[in-house]
Every structure is written in structure tokens, then in C-alpha cells.
């Protein structure tokens, strides 16, 4: 590089850095432990929602940062197709997408930076799975207490399957890169059914279609066997927490709505603590009153901080502040606010990127896959939590997560029908 070239590069880099919040020099070391007594020391490295959880007992043990490589096929598709991807002026419509990461060049000075990050999140490499099948998982919901008193479990849920099938951006399982035929023009389908416990909800399920046309709202169906009725949920109702627990469908994984449903703002780039290499599989829950939270290793991660304001009328929340890992585009946690701007809920992911669920598991992947042994959603205003073990420790040897298995794991279009959901309830 010539001197003039070097100078131009340096000036460009300086210009870019002007818009990036200065990365925090994390003054934490691997092995350090944080709890309510010393959480102030890491207040800048966690979200207000996570801080609330630590103040209520959630333990944080600091671990080393570990790089996560995205799948080779995803990186190759990014190189091949990203050049042709375009975004509409309002950032809501993406065209030219085939597979891979839509916008690999993220410039904080770009007026559309927040939308591009959210579209990258939507088609993230860490979940660029053609299909996924989560089996045999359970969830508890109840009140958070103090002292040694454990979370008062009000309801215990046991679920058979959470499955997803992508219809575009496919890289691993034929047909690729699109699932044809796609007469409904869907981007993907997801189903959560049947619920096995509690007995009064046995057979309940939900099914959802997301369409390639972002102007078309999701179709979401809820089957209630006791009423023998299929109810249709609006997109705004996706933010409602159902059956006395705290999680809403749109909060799954930190955010499971469409990028087109919110107005997004880029709030900066920071170095924060998140769980990306959980050591415990199945999950290890913390002790005493902190047992609403998992007890695992948090590592320093560079994250994008994005604010989302819903465009949908009657959406339950006024804002989501989402913390997106820069390397994988996985959400490490997401804070949710009410209309007055008061902290309402937090979703925390307990990721464990690895090639096998556990040593000796029957399935080994070529790439590190986004195993998620636990999630927690806390309603801070009600001091109430829902925690899920993915999979449930009740099933020793269960891998829980099955990625890109297609028909081998039963993840076929036939499963994603209302008829199949009703049949499974019997």
C-alpha cells in the first residue's frame, strides 16, 4: 500500500471509529464471579434487565472469549450472493437475497445500519439451519422469592417439539437454496406442539407461517383441544404471554418477529458479557432463590445494541432493546419496556456453540451449532419468571436439538399443518 493509500485508509478508519461507541475495556478476568454484592462492577457490561436478575441472585462467572466460526457453506454463500442484496429506502424490504449473510459490510455511519443488522440477524449464520427440531423440553413458571426460598413453581410445562423449516436461504439439506414447491410463498414455518403437561393444556399447540412478502402478516394458529377450536392470533398477539407464563412468541431467541414489523435504531457497539459457550448440558440452574436463572460461564462479546419500536398497533411492548452478538448475530439478551419506559421483561439466552450436544452424542456436526440448553424470561414488574430446560434433564441422553436433519427428524412440510397439529393432540 502506498503512503497515500495508507493515509486514506487511516482517515477512513478514523472516520468510521467516530461513530462507534468506544469499546469498553472489560476489566474482568476469567474465573471472576459476580452476584448482587458486586454487580455494580459489571453494570456497563450487562443490560439493565440482566443486572436486575443478578441483583436477585443470578450468578455470573466470567470465562474466556472463544471465537465462533460460522458454517463454511454460509460464508461461501455470503461471498457469492451478498453483492446482489438490496434494501428498500425504508429498510423494510430486502430484495435479491438467495442465501448467506445479506449485508456483510456493516458501517455504523450508514443511515440504514440498524435495519441491515436486523436483516443479518433474521438470516443469521448461527441459525441458518434449513430446519431445526427441539425435542422433549420443559419449562417452569412462577414467582421469584428472596433468600433461600426457591422459585415458587406455579405451572410446569412439558413439550414434545419445537420445529422450524426454512423455505429460503437453504444451504445444507436438499432442496437448496429454496424449498420447492412453495405455493404459499413462505419464508419459513414454525410449530410448537403438542404440550404434554400440565394436564389441562395437554394437546395445545401453535403453528406459524411467515411469508416472503413482508407486507403480509404471519399466520399463527393456536389449537385448544378442550374447546376443540383453532384460534387465529394476530401479529400483535404474538407479543402476548399465554397460559400464565411470561414468554411471548415474538420473544423466542430474543426476537422472533420480522425485521419489517419494527422501526430500528442503532444505539452503538459495546463489549458485554453473554453466554455463548455454556458448559452445562443439560442446563444447571442456580441455587436457592436464584434458581429462576441458569448458572454458567459468561464471556466478553462484542455486541450491537439495537432499539426496536413496534409498528403494530396494540403490540404489548413499547420497545425492545436487543443485544446482538457481532460474530454470530445471535441475541445474547433482550430488554423489554412498557409504555412509560419502565423495565418490564428480559429474555436471556444460554447458548452453547458446539459440534455435539455432549461427548458421545449420536450426532456430530461439521460446524459449531447454536445449542441453547436454557432460556429465561423474567417479568421484573411481577417478579415472576419462566425458565426452560432445552432439553429437559428428565430425559437422560436426550440431545434436545437436531439441526438440518430434514425428514430424518420428521421436519417435513406435512408436520407444519393445522391438521397435523390437531392429530398430534390426541
Amino acid at each position: 500500500m502506498t503512503f497515500r493509500g495508507s493515509l486514506r485508509f487511516a482517515l477512513a478508519a478514523a472516520g468510521l471509529s467516530l461513530f462507534a461507541s468506544p469499546a469498553l475495556a472489560l476489566n474482568v478476568q476469567a474465573g471472576q464471579k459476580f452476584d448482587a454484592a458486586n454487580v455494580a462492577q459489571i453494570a456497563d457490561m450487562i443490560s439493565p434487565g440482566v443486572k436486575w436478575c443478578v441483583e436477585h441472585g443470578m450468578p455470573i462467572t466470567v470465562g474466556e472469549y472463544k471465537k465462533i466460526e460460522l458454517p463454511r457453506a454460509y460464508k461461501e454463500a455470503t461471498e457469492k450472493y451478498s453483492g446482489q442484496v438490496k434494501l428498500s429506502a425504508d429498510g423494510r424490504i430486502m430484495t435479491g437475497f438467495v442465501a448467506g449473510q445479506p449485508f456483510p459490510k456493516i458501517d455504523p455511519a450508514d443511515p440504514q445500519v440498524a435495519n441491515k443488522i436486523m436483516w443479518n440477524f433474521d438470516r443469521r449464520g448461527s441459525a441458518a439451519n434449513d430446519d431445526v427440531d427441539l425435542r422433549n423440553f420443559d419449562a417452569d413458571t412462577g414467582t421469584i422469592y428472596t433468600g433461600d426460598k426457591e422459585m415458587g413453581v406455579e405451572r410446569h410445562f412439558l413439550l414434545d417439539h419445537l420445529r422450524g423449516l426454512n423455505y429460503d436461504g437453504r444451504l445444507f439439506v436438499d432442496p437448496k437454496p429454496k424449498f420447492e414447491p412453495n405455493t404459499e410463498a413462505v419464508q419459513g414455518k414454525a410449530g410448537l406442539y403438542p404440550i404434554l403437561e400440565p394436564f389441562d393444556l395437554k394437546g395445545v399447540g401453535t403453528l406459524s407461517y411467515r411469508y416472503l412478502d413482508v407486507e403480509k402478516q404471519d399466520d399463527t394458529w393456536l389449537y385448544l383441544p378442550t374447546l376443540r377450536r383453532v384460534r387465529r392470533l394476530s401479529s400483535a398477539q404474538r407479543s402476548d404471554a399465554l397460559f400464565g407464563q411470561d414468554a411471548d412468541v415474538d420473544s423466542y431467541y430474543g426476537y422472533a418477529g420480522s425485521p419489517a414489523w419494527f422501526d430500528w435504531k442503532f444505539l452503538g457497539e459495546r463489549e458485554m458479557l453473554g453466554v455463548m459457550h455454556a458448559q452445562n448440558f443439560p442446563v444447571k440452574w442456580a441455587a436457592g432463590s436464584a434458581n429462576f436463572a441458569f448458572d454458567d460461564v459468561w464471556e466478553p462479546r462484542k455486541v450491537y445494541v439495537i432499539e426496536g419500536t413496534p409498528r403494530l398497533a396494540q403490540y404489548a411492548y413499547s420497545k425492545r432493546v436487543i443485544f446482538i452478538d457481532k460474530e454470530t448475530y445471535a441475541v445474547i439478551y433482550s430488554d423489554i419496556y412498557d409504555r412509560a419506559g419502565n423495565l418490564w421483561k428480559v429474555w436471556i439466552d444460554d447458548f452453547s456453540f458446539r459440534k455435539q450436544a455432549f461427548p458421545g452424542a449420536s450426532t456430530t456436526y461439521e460446524d459449531e451449532m447454536p445449542f441453547l440448553p436454557a432460556i429465561v424470561m423474567v417479568d421484573m414488574q411481577l417478579v415472576h419468571a419462566t425458565k426452560a430446560s432445552l432439553p429437559s434433564p428428565r430425559f437422560p441422553g436426550e440431545q434436545g436439538w437436531y439441526f438440518n436433519q430434514g425428514a430424518k427428524s420428521g421436519t417435513t412440510p406435512e408436520w407444519f399443518t393445522v391438521a397435523a397439529m390437531i392429530a398430534a393432540s390426541h
Partner: protein, 216 residues
């Protein structure tokens, strides 16, 4: 019209006028909701968790909006009944936030983007500046506690954050943020020289943390 009928009309009109003035006097200068039953935590306890610099009173600066530069001045404006004092934020065009010695000021440009005025040369993501400005509107949604008790119970004797804003039509105001509420989901605040305590959302305070952190 007979004399007696005319007298009856005058009596009815007088009664209506009395009723009108009586209702006008009973209406306060600002509609207010009764405060929640929530009680503040022990003095100082509301600031648990090491919120930055609660003990330092923000230094007034010359680069902020045209609003009162100190609580005393804000109070003087209110006493004098100056235009636009004690306003809830609305149509904001300039903002200055400060905590301890650190202050950041920014203004809205003609193209609706936000630009940092101070500290000079600091660039903060425009989306963050805009998000803070929009979140200021939510202050009006916060609960209002009437005659709540000593300032120290709410951390307002030593505010942890000072927000000054100004807007079109000579509107301006100051919001002082004290300690965190016992639930940990919001903060106590005071708008202008209003004696009431308002609940200020955590969202606003978190964005202030991000802005001040980016300017450090």
C-alpha cells in the same frame, strides 16, 4: 318578558357563572393522577447497585439548552411564571444531560437528525441521540406522587442525572433523576420545580448511561 321572568333569568345566569368559577378554581394547573401506593426504600437504598456518581451534583454548563442552568434558576423561572417552565418534554430540539463533571449536549437539525454540540468532536450514534429524545416523551406517562416526603427518600437531594431540554415556542424544562425505585424497573425524578415526584422509566436512564458512556 315580565319583570319576574327577567329576574329569574338573571338568577340562573348568576348561578351558572358561580358554578363555572368554582370548577375553575378546583382544577389544578396540571391534571394529576393519584400516586401509587409504592413507598420508597430506605434513604440511599434506592441507589443501590452503584449507579454512577449519585453524590455529585452536576455542574451547569454554558453549552446546554437555554433552560435554567441550575435548580435554583429553574425554581426562579417557575416562581416568576416564566414562559414554558415546568413543562413536560414535547417538541424537543435541544438536550443536555449531565452526571458529575460529564455533560453531553445535542440539538436537532433541520433535516431531523441530531448533532452533538458538546463535548466538541465527540461522535455518538445519531440513533442513540434520537432514541433518547423520543424517550423523553415517555416522562409524561410516568406516575406522579403527590407530596411524597423528603427528597432524600427518593435520592433527589443528590440527583444522579440531570436532563435539560428546550423546544419550539420557548418551551424548556429540567428533569432531575434521583434513585432507583424499589422494584428496580424505574427511577424517581422531578420535572422542573414541581414539588411532586415522578416515576421516570429505566429506558431513559439507560440511554443516558449509553450517551454519557460514549462521550467519555
Amino acid at each position: 318578558m315580565s319583570w319576574s321572568r327577567a329576574a329569574l333569568h338573571w338568577i340562573v345566569a348568576a348561578a351558572l357563572a358561580l358554578a363555572f368559577f368554582a370548577s375553575g378554581r378546583s382544577r389544578g394547573p396540571e391534571a394529576s393522577r393519584p400516586g401509587p401506593a409504592a413507598t420508597p426504600g430506605p434513604a440511599g437504598g434506592a441507589r443501590a447497585g452503584g449507579e454512577a456518581d449519585p453524590g455529585t451534583r452536576p455542574a451547569p454548563g454554558a453549552d446546554g439548552p437555554r433552560a435554567a442552568a441550575s435548580p435554583a434558576q429553574a425554581s426562579a423561572h417557575a416562581t416568576a411564571g416564566g414562559p414554558g417552565t415546568d413543562e413536560l418534554p414535547s417538541g424537543v430540539t435541544r438536550i443536555r444531560i449531565s452526571r458529575g463533571d460529564l455533560a453531553v449536549a445535542w440539538r436537532r437539525e433541520a433535516d431531523a437528525t441530531w448533532k452533538v454540540e458538546a463535548p466538541a468532536g465527540k461522535s455518538i450514534p445519531p440513533g442513540l441521540l434520537a432514541a433518547f429524545a423520543e424517550q423523553l416523551d415517555a416522562v409524561r406517562e410516568g406516575e406522579r406522587l403527590e407530596a411524597p416526603g423528603p427528597d432524600a427518600d427518593f435520592g433527589l437531594d443528590r440527583p444522579s442525572l440531570r436532563i435539560e431540554w428546550s423546544g419550539a415556542g420557548d418551551r424548556r424544562g429540567t428533569i432531575l433523576v434521583g434513585g432507583r425505585t424499589p422494584t428496580g424497573t424505574a427511577w424517581y425524578g422531578r420535572v422542573g420545580s414541581d414539588g411532586a415526584v415522578r416515576i421516570v422509566g429505566s429506558n431513559l436512564v439507560y440511554y443516558a448511561d449509553l450517551v454519557l458512556g460514549a462521550a467519555r
